[in-house]
C-alpha cells in the first residue's frame, strides 16, 4: 500500500501550531454552544436523514416538482462532466464572462472552476479563505476553515503578487482589500454559483448557511443563480431546519446561529424589488446512488459538512488537510473517498485511524464513522488480502493457543524483534513498548513460591 509521506507536515512547526490552535478553538466553541438537549437533536437529525435517504427517489421528485412550481429549473447530472457541461453551455448562451462562486465542496468535487477556465470563463471564489487559496493556486485545507494553514504574512504575499496591493499584515486590512476587489466582481458577474447546505423538498427551496455574506451576494446580485448540490442534501420539510440549523452552526463554528441563513425558493417573483431572474438547481449523483445501495454504510451520506470530525481527529490534527487523496479530508473523507473511488484506489485510507471514536461522538447526525472504517478495512482485506499479514496472524494465533511456546517466545520476540522487511516498515510508524525486567509470568512464579 502506498501511503502519503507525512513527514513534511509533521516536521513543520508553524503548520502544526496553526492546525492545532484552529481545531482546538473550533472544538472549544462547539462545546460552549451545545445545549443539554444536544443528544435529542442529533437523534432527530439522524432519523430525518435516514428517513429521507431510505426514500430518496420520492423526496427528489417532490423537490423537483416544487422547484419547478416556483419557476426554477432542475438539472439532473449523473456525474461532474454533465454538471459542468450544463453550466458551461448556460454561461455561453447568456454571454456570461465572469461568475462569482460561494464556497461549495460539491463544486470542488467536480472541478468546476477548471472546467470553466477551459472555456474562457472567469470563476471567482468569494469566500475569503477560498479566494486566498484560489489566488495562490491551492485547494481547501479544511471543510469549514479552508485557509487555516495560511499566516497573515502568506496572505499578504499572495495579495501583493496577484492584486498588486501594498504590504498589509493585519487581518482587518487584508479583509478590506478582498472586500473591495470582490465587490467589483459581484457587480460585474453575470452568474452566481453556490452550493446548498440543505434542499427542502416541501418548499422547492435551497438553504445557504454562511458568515460572510458572499453566498447571499452570489445568489442575489447576478441575474442568474445556479446552485449545485449532491442529491443527498434533501430533507423533507422546512420545519426540519429548526434542528438542522442549530446543529450545523454549533458543530461547525460554535455559533448559536450562523450570521446569514438564506432560504431561497426560486428566482425573483413579481413585485419583489431584487433577486436573480433565473434559478437553476443542479442535482448531482456522481456515485451517490452507488453508496446508497450499501445499506450498512448508507449513513455516510447523512453528512452535513460541518467539519467537527476533522477538528476532533488526532490524525487530521497532525497531518492536516493536504495528505488525504480527495477533496473530503479527515474522518468523513476517510469513509467517503473509498466508497466514491473504490477501495482499491486508496486502500490505506481506512487504516489511517486510531479508532479512538471521537469523530463518531461529535458527529451532529450520528454517522458511525468508526464502525464504517472497520467495515472498509474488512472490504480491503476481502478485496486484496495481504499474504504476509495473513500468515503472521496465523502464526500469532497458533502461538497464543500454545502457552509453552508463548512463554519461551514472548521475551525473545520483544527483546530481539529483527527490524527487517515488513517488521521494519511496521515499526517505522510505531514504537514497541520497552519490555519490563520481569515478565508477568516471572512475577506470578515468585508470588506463588
Amino acid at each position: 500500500m502506498k501511503t502519503p509521506d507525512v513527514t513534511a507536515a509533521l516536521g513543520d512547526k508553524k503548520l502544526q501550531l496553526a492546525i492545532y490552535s484552529a481545531t482546538a478553538r473550533l472544538g472549544e466553541r462547539r462545546r460552549e454552544t451545545i445545549t443539554s438537549d444536544h443528544e435529542e437533536l442529533r437523534q432527530y437529525a439522524h432519523d430525518i436523514k435516514k428517513h429521507t435517504l431510505d426514500h430518496l427517489d420520492f423526496y427528489l421528485e417532490q423537490l423537483e416538482r416544487n422547484v419547478e412550481a416556483r419557476g426554477g429549473k432542475v438539472i439532473w447530472a449523473k456525474d461532474g462532466a454533465e454538471a459542468c457541461a450544463f453550466i458551461q453551455n448556460l454561461a455561453r448562451k447568456r454571454g456570461v464572462k465572469v461568475i462569482v462562486k460561494s464556497k461549495s465542496m460539491t463544486t470542488e468535487e467536480i472541478h468546476l472552476n477548471e472546467h470553466l477556465e477551459e472555456v474562457g470563463i472567469e470563476a471567482v471564489e468569494t469566500d475569503l479563505g477560498e479566494y486566498i487559496l484560489q489566488l495562490g493556486g491551492e485547494k481547501p485545507f479544511h471543510i469549514i476553515a479552508p485557509a487555516l494553514h495560511k499566516t497573515k504574512e502568506d496572505v499578504s504575499d499572495i495579495f501583493e503578487k496577484h492584486l498588486h496591493s501594498k504590504r498589509e499584515t493585519s487581518p482587518e486590512g487584508l479583509t478590506k482589500i478582498a472586500r473591495v476587489a470582490l465587490r467589483e466582481k459581484f457587480l460585474e458577474a453575470g452568474m452566481g454559483i453556490t452550493g446548498a447546505n440543505f434542499l427542502v423538498a416541501d418548499s422547492g427551496a435551497i438553504v445557504l448557511v454562511e458568515n460572510e455574506g458572499n453566498a447571499r451576494l452570489s445568489s442575489s446580485a447576478p441575474k442568474i443563480h445556479v446552485a449545485v448540490s449532491g442529491i443527498e442534501k434533501v430533507i423533507p420539510r422546512a420545519q426540519d431546519l429548526g434542528v438542522f440549523l442549530k446543529l450545523l452552526a454549533r458543530s461547525a463554528t460554535g455559533q448559536p446561529l450562523s450570521v446569514y441563513t438564506s432560504f431561497l425558493a426560486g428566482a425573483k417573483r413579481e413585485g419583489e424589488p431584487d433577486g436573480p431572474e433565473e434559478f437553476y438547481l443542479v442535482l448531482l449523483d456522481n456515485g451517490r446512488t452507488r453508496l446508497l445501495a450499501d445499506e450498512s454504510k448508507r449513513q455516510s451520506l447523512y453528512c452535513i459538512r460541518c467539519g467537527a470530525c476533522l477538528n476532533h481527529c488526532p490524525v487530521y490534527r497532525k497531518i492536516g488537510g493536504y495528505n488525504y487523496p480527495w477533496v473530503y479530508s479527515g474522518p468523513i473523507g476517510k469513509i467517503l473517498t473509498p466508497q466514491f473511488m473504490g477501495i482499491e484506489h486508496d486502500p490505506w485510507l481506512p487504516f489511517a485511524s486510531s479508532l479512538c471514536g471521537a469523530c463518531g461522538e461529535v458527529c451532529p447526525v450520528k454517522i458511525e464513522i468508526p464502525r464504517i472504517l472497520l467495515e472498509l478495512r474488512s472490504d480491503k482485506v476481502a478485496n486484496d488480502p495481504d499474504r504476509a499479514e495473513l500468515w503472521s496472524f496465523k502464526v500469532w494465533a497458533w502461538v497464543m493457543r500454545h502457552p509453552k511456546f508463548y512463554a519461551r517466545l514472548a521475551p525473545l520476540a520483544l527483546s530481539a524483534a529483527p527490524p527487517v522487511g515488513p517488521v521494519k516498515k511496521w515499526l517505522s510508524q510505531r514504537d514497541l513498548p520497552v519490555p519490563p525486567a520481569k515478565s508477568f509470568r516471572d512475577l506470578w512464579k515468585e508470588r506463588s513460591k
Binding site: 432519523d47 416556483r70 449523473k78 420539510r237 422546512a238 440549523l245 441563513t261
Partner: protein, 193 residues
C-alpha cells in the same frame, strides 16, 4: 434514458423500491418553545454580544431621532432601490418581519417588498422594527410560517454583522456584508414608522 430517469431508477434499485411505492410519514417535527418573557432584553443582550447596537424607543418620532443618530450624516436608502443605487450608499435602512430574542437575529421575507441587497451591500444596516415583531426563537418562525417560500423567493435570517475568521482565526467584521448593524425597536406604535 435521460439522466433524470437513470438517477431515479438507480436510487430505486439501491433502495429496493418501485415507482410510486408508498412512503411512511417522516418523524414528527421537533420545534422548541423559547422563553416568552423579557424578549426585548434577551434580543438586546444577544445582538450586543455580537457587536450589534440596539436602541429601544417609545414613539415613531423618537425612532426617527435614533435613526438620524445612527446615520450620523451618512448617505442612505430606505426600503428599496436599484442595485446600482444601493451599491453606492453607506447605509441601508429596512424593517424586518420577525426578530429572534434568543439569538438577536432579524428575519426578512422578500414578499414585504424589502430588497435582498439593501441589508447586504452597504457597510451599515439599520433596521427599524416594532416590539411586536420579536418572537422567542427561530423555531417560532417555522411554526408561524411552515412554508417560508410560499409567498417569498427568499427568507433571510441575519444574526449580527457579517464576519470572517479565515485569516489566522482572527475575527474580522464586515467582510462582504455590513460590518455595522443597528436595530431600533419601537415599543409603542401609534402609527407605522
Amino acid at each position: 434514458m435521460t439522466s433524470r430517469d437513470e438517477i431515479l431508477s438507480k436510487a430505486r434499485a439501491a433502495l429496493s423500491r418501485n415507482t410510486g411505492d408508498p412512503v411512511p410519514p417522516p418523524p414528527a417535527v421537533l420545534l422548541r418553545e423559547g422563553p416568552t418573557e423579557h424578549l426585548v432584553e434577551q434580543f438586546t443582550a444577544a445582538l450586543e454580544a455580537l457587536a450589534g447596537n440596539v436602541v429601544v424607543v417609545k414613539t415613531c418620532e423618537e425612532a426617527q431621532v435614533a435613526v438620524d443618530k445612527a446615520l450620523n450624516g451618512r448617505t442612505f436608502i430606505r426600503s428599496t432601490g436599484t442595485r446600482d443605487a444601493i451599491a453606492q450608499v453607506e447605509v441601508g435602512i429596512t424593517s424586518a418581519d420577525y426578530a429572534l430574542a434568543d439569538t438577536g437575529s432579524l428575519v426578512m421575507f422578500t414578499e414585504s417588498n424589502e430588497s435582498r441587497l439593501l441589508s447586504l451591500l452597504p457597510p451599515c444596516h439599520i433596521a427599524v422594527i416594532e416590539r411586536s415583531k420579536i418572537v422567542a426563537c427561530l423555531d417560532d418562525v417555522f411554526r408561524l410560517r411552515p412554508l417560508p417560500g410560499a409567498r417569498s423567493s427568499a427568507m433571510v435570517v441575519i444574526t449580527g454583522p457579517s464576519r470572517t475568521a479565515d485569516i489566522e482565526m482572527r475575527l474580522v467584521r464586515g467582510v462582504h456584508g455590513p460590518g455595522e448593524i443597528h436595530v431600533i425597536i419601537i415599543d409603542d406604535v401609534t402609527r407605522s414608522p
